[in-house]
């Protein structure tokens, strides 16, 4: 129904003039609910300064479904903020295109795109009250004051700050400012809401709280949210669809649990969680099941790709939470003996650090006093939890060993 509303709004509420033909067809298409909210096509962006240029986006392409909570995640400099800013229209790009609701926005300035932005620095207008800040987008769109009053009230209630209308930005705490920034973007009712690192500068407790609030609001409002972050937990817990980026390319897109359990590359595997990695050579491959020979043992694992790997060098990985400590000979899974050299107590769980022939292995388990430093312990994990990764990264030309053990 939202698409119908969108079409009607466009036909009667907007002053933009659409060209006949392609665009109209796209709008009709949108009615049938087949068009994605956002489509990025082979986007390339260079950053130039003087004589130097740096490639920020290397021809990335992806789509975002309507109503999705889409998270772009990656380390600093991977291009996620750049992409977001291109979508918002505050950055130009060099080649490729971006389609919002099926319409190319290449030559469309930001204020004519159906988006709203919540920037990393919140950027509340210091010379306006909370009310005027939130009302800003609506005023720009020519809404009348009664409508604005209602909407501002609604949005403040939504973000849990009713009655804050007359306050000034410099009187607010960090978390409050953020919520006002969110309200300001929400109130405009954009097709796509863009949030740039919204939780990166907030302390841990507040992060959790805000995170939950985001999801609740998103569900209630129902538009498409696109969010960037470099904090792995946030991406996993918030996203409907998660996209991992790495220096201008997309490592993997999928549902969080897909990426976590079936990462496509070493980089992706590492980025979404802790993983023990060791290099090895594939000895046998039957469908998804593989047997990999490494320096510390021969292990069974799963491979979710489509290549023939026998004889190939791969990375073999298994996550700490799947490791059982002190398994006996009857254990039907992968095992390795290792020496405990350190542990970290986190209250509800303990991280044990083991060493086997110079290779560090991590295991997490509920607290136990069974082991002391220096003990030789047999670790075990199920075969189906071992992951075989043939690609260090989507970026070509990288060496598996270097990626595993660090340059």
């Amino acid at each position: 129904m939202k698409d119908l509303a969108y079409l009607v709004k466009n036909k009667y509420g907007r002053t933009a003039i659409f060209s006949v033909g392609k665009s109209s067809a796209h709008y009709l298409w949108g009615l049938i609910d087949l068009v994605a909210a956002l489509k990025v096509e082979k986007l390339v962006k260079w950053y130039r300064s003087g004589k130097e240029k740096v490639l920020a986006l290397n021809g990335i392409s992806f789509e975002v479904e309507k109503g999705d909570f889409f998270v772009m995640m990656g380390p600093s400099g991977c291009g996620k903020s750049t992409t977001l800013k291109c979508i918002a229209g505050i950055l130009d790009w060099d080649s490729g295109d971006i389609y919002i609701m099926g319409r190319s926005v290449k030559d469309v300035p930001p204020h004519k795109r159906d988006i709203a932005l919540m920037p990393e620095t919140y950027a509340l207008f210091p010379h306006m009250t909370v009310y005027d800040n939130i009302a800003f987008g609506l005023r720009m769109r020519g809404k009348d004051e009664d409508y604005i009053r209602e909407k501002v009230k609604w949005s403040l209630k939504l973000v849990g700050m009713p009655g804050f209308e007359k306050r000034w930005p410099n009187e607010l705490s960090g978390g409050q400012r953020q919520r006002v920034a969110l309200a300001r973007a929400l109130v405009v009712d954009p097709a796509i809401l863009l949030l740039d690192e919204p939780l990166s500068h907030v302390d841990y407790r507040l992060q959790r709280k805000l995170l939950e609030e985001f999801k609740i609001i998103h569900r209630e409002v129902g538009n498409t949210w696109i969010l960037t972050t470099h904090i792995q937990e946030q991406g996993l817990s918030m996203a409907d669809t998660l996209m991992i980026m790495n220096t201008g390319v997309i490592e993997q897109i999928g549902k969080p649990h897909e990426i976590y359990e079936r990462p496509a590359t070493v980089f992706a595997a590492r980025f979404v969680g802790e993983i023990n990695l060791v290099d090895g050579i594939v000895e046998e491959q039957h469908g998804e099941d593989c047997i990999v020979k490494t320096n510390i043992g021969v292990f069974r694992g799963k491979y979710y790709g489509d290549r023939e790997l026998v004889g190939e060098k791969v990375a073999y990985g298994f996550r700490p939470e799947h490791v059982a400590l002190g398994v006996n000979e009857e254990y039907n899974g992968n095992t390795v003996k290792a020496k405990l050299f350190n542990y970290y107590y986190f209250g509800s769980y303990v991280e044990f650090m083991f060493d086997r022939d110079g290779i560090r292995l991590k295991a997490t388990s509920t607290p136990t006093t069974k082991y002391k430093l220096g003990d030789e312990v047999t670790l075990g994990w199920p075969p189906e939890k071992g992951i075989v990764l043939d690609k260090p990264s989507v970026i070509p030309g990288l060496n598996i060993e270097e990626v595993i053990y660090g340059k």
């Binding site: 130009d92 290449k106 030559d107 300035p109």
Partner: protein, 277 residues
């Protein structure tokens, strides 16, 4: 992709504004090389007469001498330079310690700041008149360069002061404390830590005070006697005597001195500048 039309238009406008601002000066310089007594274009002949003509060459009036030969002009230049240099040194001597002290809190810091600023912002007429009355009240009978210097000090110090304050490395206090904690005495800290880091600021103090002093007129003319400084001399001439391109020559010389000194100062300061201005 939105093209930045605004940038081009604004750029042209700014260039035009700059031209408006600089054109008169350019003309002064050019016209100072004009032969003949009329003040305007066109220039029939170029000549260095207004700079170098010895007395008598251009006519009998004393004001028709090239400035390098005119004893009054030379005296005015000497006066200006003297006042300027002494003002610069004094400004540096009392202003720099004050700027250094401003990094710490002390009683009356804000008031002092405002008072210093007032020295620069207060209209010249008020300061000039006040100075005259003050001098007369304490019994100063005749005016000289020494009556001028304090007034210039008041006027020029603030500008250097805020410039230097803005440029101080905020870490300076931390470096000093660290040096103290490592056992250095107060004097050693100053000699080895503070001074090297503020050398350029110290120079800036002198340079800006010096050049500001060179161009000051409104306050100076109240407290001076005799030929005066370059600006007062020119002003007096302009009020009394028919204009000749000699004034342009004088103007060019002052511009050259000020600009030259400032250029040197700026070059020194932009080594390690963190931001514009």
């Amino acid at each position: 992709m939105v093209k930045d039309k605004a940038k081009v238009v604004l750029g042209i406008y700014t260039a035009l504004l700059l031209a408006f601002f600089l054109a008169p000066l350019a003309m002064v310089v050019i016209l100072s090389f004009k032969a003949g007594a009329s003040m305007s274009f066109p220039i029939e002949r170029f000549s260095l007469d207004w700079y170098f003509a010895p007395p008598g060459k251009l006519g009998t009036g004393g004001f028709r001498t090239g400035i390098f030969y005119d004893p009054y002009v030379i005296e005015a230049v000497k006066n200006s330079l003297t006042v300027g240099i002494i003002t610069g040194i004094l400004a540096f001597a009392i202003g720099l310690p004050t700027a250094l002290a401003f990094r710490y809190r002390f009683v009356g810091r804000d008031i002092l700041f405002y008072i210093i600023l007032t020295g620069f912002l207060l209209p010249g007429v008020i300061m000039g008149l006040g100075a005259v009355l003050f001098y007369k009240m304490i019994g100063v009978k005749e005016f000289s360069l020494w009556t001028v210097i304090p007034i210039h000090l008041i006027y020029t110090l603030p500008f250097s002061f805020i410039l230097v304050l803005a440029r101080f490395d905020p870490m300076l206090v931390e470096y000093e404390k660290a040096a103290r904690a490592l056992g250095a005495s107060g004097w050693e800290v100053f000699k080895k830590i503070t001074f090297p880091l503020i050398k350029t600021e110290a120079l800036a103090f002198f340079i800006f005070s010096f050049t500001l002093s060179l161009g000051e007129l409104l306050r100076t003319s109240y407290v001076i006697a005799g030929t005066g400084t370059i600006p007062t001399y020119i002003y007096n001439q302009m009020s009394v005597v028919a204009p000749t391109p000699k004034w342009y020559a004088m103007g060019t010389i002052t511009t050259a001195i000020s600009f030259g000194v400032l250029l040197v100062g700026a070059l020194l300061l932009t080594r390690g500048a963190r931001r514009a201005f």
